[in-house]
């Protein structure tokens, strides 16, 4: 079980501090598929990074299976069973796809195993295993390889940060099936940050994060209408008095 207790994160601003996460408390049960959604800049990625240890909260606590992991390093949290798929994964000159998958798996992966992970993200192993994870790959390809590393990692808690971003429609359909499979297997707790209805519909529960706070929580049927209702024009001033 993952517990966040009064988690806050703020950054220096022109006048005082800007709160990115504001006294956020929540619990996520094991083996659930949770989708975190909400407007851009609402704190979703910061929250995910705080769980992985990539962002150090200003205050509050993070507990994994009752153990306080707030002060653990990223490496220690990875060993404790947390994995995180970056929204914009870095590239590595000279590192091959199969090397990255093997690092993720913790041991040298056989061809068939590596192939299985790539297939789950809609890539053909024959074309990709020996390629470098560098600028020769498109954004969508790097993103799918990133997701494959999380699958290879087989951590108890998997966090995917906007896995659909940059991925074409055909690959996205395959990816949705993979998340459905992960859910059906019930081997891991899966947290997906997403704006896609098809992914939101897979969730056991949806967390709506906005303005650094948890503003709603519930099933897809409960939360999805709320999201649609809150759709903005993109300009709050325009919403209020039709003048900007």
């Amino acid at each position: 079980m993952l517990e966040l207790k009064h988690l806050s994160y703020s950054v220096p601003a022109e006048q005082g501090e800007l709160g990115i996460l504001k006294d956020l408390s929540l619990t996520i049960e094991d083996k659930k598929l949770i989708v975190i959604t909400g407007p851009n800049g609402g704190g979703k990625t910061t929250l995910a990074k705080a769980i992985m240890g990539l962002v150090k909260p200003t205050s509050g606590q993070i507990l994994l299976d009752g153990r306080d992991i707030t002060d653990l390093t990223v490496s220690e949290r990875a060993k404790a069973g947390i994995s995180y798929g970056f929204q914009q994964p870095p590239r590595f000159k000279g590192m091959k796809v199969k090397d990255l998958l093997s690092i993720a798996a913790g041991s040298e992966l056989g061809h068939d195993q590596a192939c299985a992970y790539l297939t789950q993200v809609g890539l053909c192993a024959r074309d990709y295993l020996d390629r470098d994870v560098d600028v020769s790959l498109s954004g969508g390809e790097v993103k799918r390889i990133e997701i494959a590393t999380i699958l290879a990692r087989q951590a108890a808690l998997m966090i995917f940060d906007e896995p659909e971003a940059g991925i074409d429609l055909w690959s996205f359909a395959r990816l949705t099936e993979t998340f459905q499979d992960l859910h059906d297997q019930k081997k891991a707790t899966v947290i997906i940050i997403s704006h896609q209805e098809r992914i939101i519909r897979l969730a056991d529960e949806i967390l709506l994060i906005s303005g650094g706070e948890l503003t709603a929580r519930g099933s897809a049927d409960e939360i999805y209408p709320l999201i649609l209702k809150q759709t903005l024009t993109g300009c709050n001033m325009l919403e209020v008095d039709r003048k900007c």
């Binding site: 490496s75 994995s83 995180y84 970056f86 000159k93 000279g94 990692r153």
Partner: protein, 308 residues
């Protein structure tokens, strides 16, 4: 007979745990011929006018290799050798060179390997050269190689050079003259310096032949207080294509200069260069940490991949 230190160096620079049963072999240890073997279509002979060997590869030789490693274990030894390769028309061979110095004493040890290749029509050569230094002595380990290549029509050469570690000073010079139509050379240089080591690598690739092509890929890692300077120069004198790519990772208080030069002397010459120097991106380390590596392990994996 090679001793254990020499055998270890052979393994490092030429992947030779033992003498290959097939192919031509010449092992040079402390300036002397230690072992030689010819193969069916490849002969190695000592030069008569100066120190060195002539390697003659008969036309259309296939599936035969050449191993010519050099080992220096005598502290203070200064070795200079001229090796000429004559690669016959249509041959397809792999040549493994490489030099390793073990310096356990106070005097500087130095090897200058001057290699000249005459690559015949439609011949294909893969040349692999590794440089390595070790030993507890304060004497420097110095390697100053010169590699000069002449390519005839349709000839194709891949040059894979790497300085693994432990070389205190190196001045490398590589020159390739592609006079033949449709000739091609790919140069892959990998270089690691550490402590207070210095490395200078100069390169001239001259594209004279119609449709001559080159690709120069230089990757280096400069650690601690070491310095590196790169001068890859490509000249296009005909319809030709050249691409130079220099990438360096800089660490500690190291210094790296990269000065690629491309010069076009023909309206149909297309030459491109790219150069980048920078430290390891923090995001890369963090990504590998999320996969369970420590920051130190992550850094090593990134460097290993970069210099693979």
């Amino acid at each position: 007979m090679l001793n254990d230190v020499q055998k270890h160096i052979l393994q490092m620079v030429a992947d030779m745990a033992k003498v290959p049963a097939q192919g031509a072999v010449n092992i040079r240890a402390n300036g002397k011929k230690e072992f030689r073997q010819n193969s069916e279509h490849i002969t190695i002979e000592s030069k008569t006018d100066r120190d060195g060997i002539d390697i003659r590869i008969a036309p259309y030789t296939k599936a035969e290799s050449v191993h010519i490693p050099v080992v220096l274990t005598e502290s203070g030894f200064q070795d200079k050798v001229y090796n000429d390769f004559f690669v016959g028309e249509g041959a397809d061979v792999t040549i493994v060179a490489g030099c390793g110095i073990h310096n356990g004493g106070e005097c500087d040890s130095r090897h200058e390997g001057i290699h000249t290749f005459y690559v015949g029509k439609n011949a294909k050569v893969r040349y692999i050269e590794k440089h390595y230094g070790e030993g507890e002595g304060r004497g420097k380990r110095i390697l100053d190689p010169q590699t000069v290549l002449y390519l005839e029509e349709g000839a194709s050469v891949t040059l894979e050079t790497s300085q693994i570690r432990g070389v205190d000073d190196t001045k490398r010079y590589t020159k390739a003259v592609l006079s033949g139509k449709d000739s091609e050379i790919v140069i892959q240089e990998k270089l690691l310096t550490h402590n207070d080591q210095n490395a200078v690598s100069e390169m001239d690739v001259i594209l004279n032949g119609e449709n001559a092509r080159t690709q120069v890929i230089s990757r280096s890692v400069a650690q601690d207080g070491s310095t590196q300077v790169f001068y890859p120069r490509v000249q296009g004198n005909n319809l030709c294509f050249g691409h130079v790519q220099c990438d360096s990772i800089i660490m500690g208080s190291a210094k790296v200069r990269s000065i690629p030069e491309i010069s076009c002397n023909h309206v149909d010459a297309t030459l491109i260069h790219e150069a980048a120097i920078g430290k390891i991106a923090g995001e890369q380390i963090l990504k590998l940490q999320t996969l369970g590596l420590t920051p130190e392990e992550a850094e090593q994996r990134i460097l290993d991949g970069f210099l693979r």
